[in-house]
Point group: C2
Chain length 153, copies 2
Amino acid sequence: MNYLTKYRSILIYGLSLAAALFLMKWLEWRFLILNHAFEIYAGIIALLFTGLGIWLAMKLSTPKIKIITIEKELAAEKTFVLNNKALNETGVSARELEVLELMADGLSNQEIAERLFVSLSTIKTHSSNLFFKLEVQRRTQAIEKAKRMELIA
Amino acid sequence: MNYLTKYRSILIYGLSLAAALFLMKWLEWRFLILNHAFEIYAGIIALLFTGLGIWLAMKLSTPKIKIITIEKELAAEKTFVLNNKALNETGVSARELEVLELMADGLSNQEIAERLFVSLSTIKTHSSNLFFKLEVQRRTQAIEKAKRMELIA
DNA sequence: CCTAAAATCAAACTAAAGTATGAGAGGCTG
DNA sequence: CAGCCTCTCATACTTTAGTTTGATTTTAGG
């Protein structure tokens, strides 16, 4: 109780000083704000529009997965080219290739003969020549090798 | 010659008028610029930073090629699952699958027998049971079907 | 037009592949 | 532990595959 009355003036003075200082500081801050209002505003605009730009780019950018489909198409072409190249290199004839494809489908020589309207002998001859050209002994090997060489699918 | 001296005053007057008008227009434009200097500046900033945002997005967007590798990994897992699933469905045993794989590599029954250290009879029994389970008649058909079912690679 | 390659066929083999049946040794499970 | 499945093997047989030789007919190219 006593202290309060005793040092009231000092207290008031101190409080006033504190308030004044606070006011000054606040005014200084206000001044800073006002003085740099343009820069701050410009900064906000810059930030906002950078965000807008990013959003736009995300929204409008075409997905990059299209590359895959292009590769697939190229692979198809490549297969065709390799087909011809391998055919020329091995010397496998068109008819022999037909027989080879049916072999790969699991048909027997008899079934292939019926499918191509020729005799069993003919298919045996074809396959024998085929094995020689592919340097294999069995039809299973021929199928395996032909697939590796991309002669057949 | 005559015309020039005759209408000099008119010409001068006209030119003065034109200059004045031009000056006014120019001043008006200047005024416009000055009056809207902030908006123009803000607009330029907006444009520039929108561009920056787009550039940033383009530059920093992660390439989507990673998805491909993920798909491949998933495919590998899927194959494993399908393998087991198909194995259970067809009832093909582990040993029969071994024989099947060697068949697909083009080996003869004799070669398979030697590779697995068992007799030719055993391989014949295995393959016969295999064909029954796969509902096929020949090894070539078995290979073809097993690959379609993803029992083998 | 003529020739070389490709396609066709046949016959007589040999070598694989595939079927059918039976049987023994282990291993897992109810 | 009995029953079932897998793996193993054998024997005897049928069917398919593959080779060899030789021949005729198309077909495409110089």
